[in-house]
């Protein structure tokens, strides 16, 4: 099966100016969102990692697809859906689409990672903070169902502030909708791998970001359910700096491994290999 793609090393090309978002306000200077260190952008290297603390700067979905796969083919680009009539929502969507080059907060498709096919979903925090709308949910359901039909694993890079305010209860229903598709994928005996990236919060944490068979994270990613400010107001305590960061969540037992961005593609390749069940008719 992988042979189909071995002769097709064309990288996924995207017209989005996703790169612009990591450039920062100060020209060639960028500030690490985790440790605050300032450095020249070139110093971050091709993986855009802070030289001081190892935090991975936020990426656009297309940029991440290029960085993490041998090749990528987009699926479900044309799923259309009526948008709820909520003041300012249509304008916000148009702005997010222009800024990211995406139609929705998640990019879905099929990728090859170290010669292995996988279905792939990448959320983009630059698109309305990766919030979960009905169309975001529909794309994820389509991805899991197509992966199930094609006997493919799913890798998902999460990045989201949670529910999409403008869509109300319909947004909340996506937690159940996507979970049902994951249940069908799981029932078929296929593996689902999550990579938590900064930030993964709210309803996304309370559903598909925490439903992986294996849950990885990028260093220092913010991962949680309730927001820090709400918690501090509720319990009248100041929370430590590492609260809801990947390292703390791993120590609490919720993350299998924290993997630095330059090692991530190979790590995923290894996991995909381990989960390739030998089949009687396989010509390996």
């Amino acid at each position: 099966m992988t042979q189909l793609f071995e002769n097709n090393p064309d990288k996924f090309k995207h017209t989005a100016p996703a790169d612009a978002r990591t450039r920062g306000q100060k020209g060639d200077w960028v500030t690490c969102a985790f440790c605050g260190a300032q450095q020249y952008k070139e110093e971050l290297g091709e993986f855009l990692v802070c030289g001081v603390c190892g935090y991975g700067f936020r990426l656009g979905a297309a940029q991440r697809a290029n960085m993490m796969t041998d090749s990528f083919t987009e699926w479900h680009a044309d799923i259309e859906m009526t948008t709820p009539d909520f003041t300012g929502y249509a304008e916000k969507l148009t702005r997010a689409q222009a800024a990211t080059g995406l139609k929705e907060a998640v990019l879905t498709g099929e990728a090859v990672i170290e010669h292995q096919r996988t279905a792939l979903a990448i959320m983009d925090a630059g698109f309305m903070m990766g919030s979960l709308g009905a169309k975001t949910g529909a794309k994820l359901v389509a991805l899991f169902d197509d992966a199930t039909a094609n006997d493919l694993p799913v890798i998902l890079f999460s990045a989201s502030g949670g529910a999409r305010m403008q869509e109300g209860i319909r947004s909340l229903m996506q937690l159940a909708n996507v979970s049902a598709a994951i249940a069908r994928h799981r029932e078929a005996g296929l593996v689902y791998i999550v990579v938590l990236t900064d930030p993964t919060m709210g309803g996304v944490t309370a559903s598909f970001a925490m439903q992986g068979d294996i849950i990885l994270s990028e260093p220092h990613a913010l991962v949680g359910f309730a927001g820090r400010r709400v918690i501090e107001q509720t319990i009248h305590e100041t929370l430590p700096k590492d609260f809801q960061r990947a390292e703390h969540m791993q120590a609490s037992g919720f993350i299998d491994a924290i993997v630095a961005r330059p090692e991530l593609q190979h790590y995923l390749g290894q996991l995909l290999r381990v989960h390739q069940a030998p089949k009687e008719d396989a010509h390996v």
């Binding site: 305010m165 209860i169 937690l175 979970s179 309803g203 925490m210």
Partner: protein
């Protein structure tokens, strides 16, 4: 059914007209409470156990806001921690194993926003509850009897049927929270409530809920009617094959995309 405005219904939903233990006592005979998540604790914000609905053995799980101040503090006004959701999931798994229908009663402002809740993985606990609910082989009915707050409510509402009391609400965020994001002013909750579509009638129209249960001042008569409705609904769901039952539950949520 009701001429109240959305914010009136929000206020009514928080009035504690119905308490978890009273609902269980009113509907279920021979209820036996089962405690603990088998891992670390026993969250009083979730009451669970087994009993009889008429002749039918059922598993009942209810979010408990508590009756008086001391219990309200213990249950954080009905805001479960991770351990509470794990207790609920354990009892659902047990129901699935013994082919007992599951009835959940929901009334929560949301999962508790606290340090121990986060460190206990409350998000993961809700996620697991939702995921496993999609595969249980038994009829599941959820009844929202007060506040249905966000993911903390949905964790127990991924069922074949979702019902609501006449003065209950269901939303992805509280009107106060929505107002503070939208208007930067939590005091404009009345406007936010009108925008959220959180009333039973709006949710019925949107197919988020399947039935609105008229409330009665006479609780004895009310419970008698509700017990009959639940019995009939369970009997109807039991006519479906396992495959049909699971497909119906999953399809119920597919309509929102």
């Amino acid at each position: 059914m009701s001429e109240k405005t959305p914010i009136d219904i929000v206020r009514a939903s928080r009035e504690d007209r119905f308490l978890a233990r009273d609902i269980i006592a009113g509907l279920i005979t021979d209820f036996q409470e089962l405690h603990g998540d088998r891992a670390q604790g026993d969250d009083p914000a979730i009451i669970g156990g087994v009993g009889l609905l008429g002749e039918q053995p059922v598993t009942v799980i209810a979010i408990n806001r508590g009756a008086e101040i001391a219990e309200k503090l213990q249950t954080r006004n009905g805001s479960p921690e991770a351990s509470g959701y794990r207790k609920a999931l354990r009892l659902m798994q047990q129901a699935d194993r013994f082919n007992r229908p599951i009835i959940t009663f929901i009334n929560t402002p949301g999962a508790f926003p606290g340090k121990t809740a986060e460190e206990g993985g409350v998000g993961q606990a809700i996620a697991e509850s939702i995921l496993q609910s999609m595969s249980f082989k038994v009829p599941m009915i959820a009844v929202i009897y007060g506040e249905g707050g966000s993911g903390g409510a949905l964790a127990l509402a991924t069922s074949n049927r979702v019902w609501m009391f006449e003065h209950a609400i269901y939303a992805m965020l509280s009107p106060e929270g929505f107002a503070s994001i939208l208007f930067k002013d939590a005091k404009r909750a009345d406007e936010a409530a009108a925008l959220l579509g959180l009333t039973p009638q709006e949710l019925l129209t949107a197919h988020v809920v399947d039935r609105v249960i008229p409330e009665m001042d006479n609780h004895t008569a009310f419970y008698e009617q509700l017990r009959l409705d639940l019995k009939n609904e369970i009997a109807d769901l039991q006519k479906l094959s396992t495959t049909e039952l699971i497909a119906q539950r999953q399809q119920r949520f597919a309509q929102f995309s």
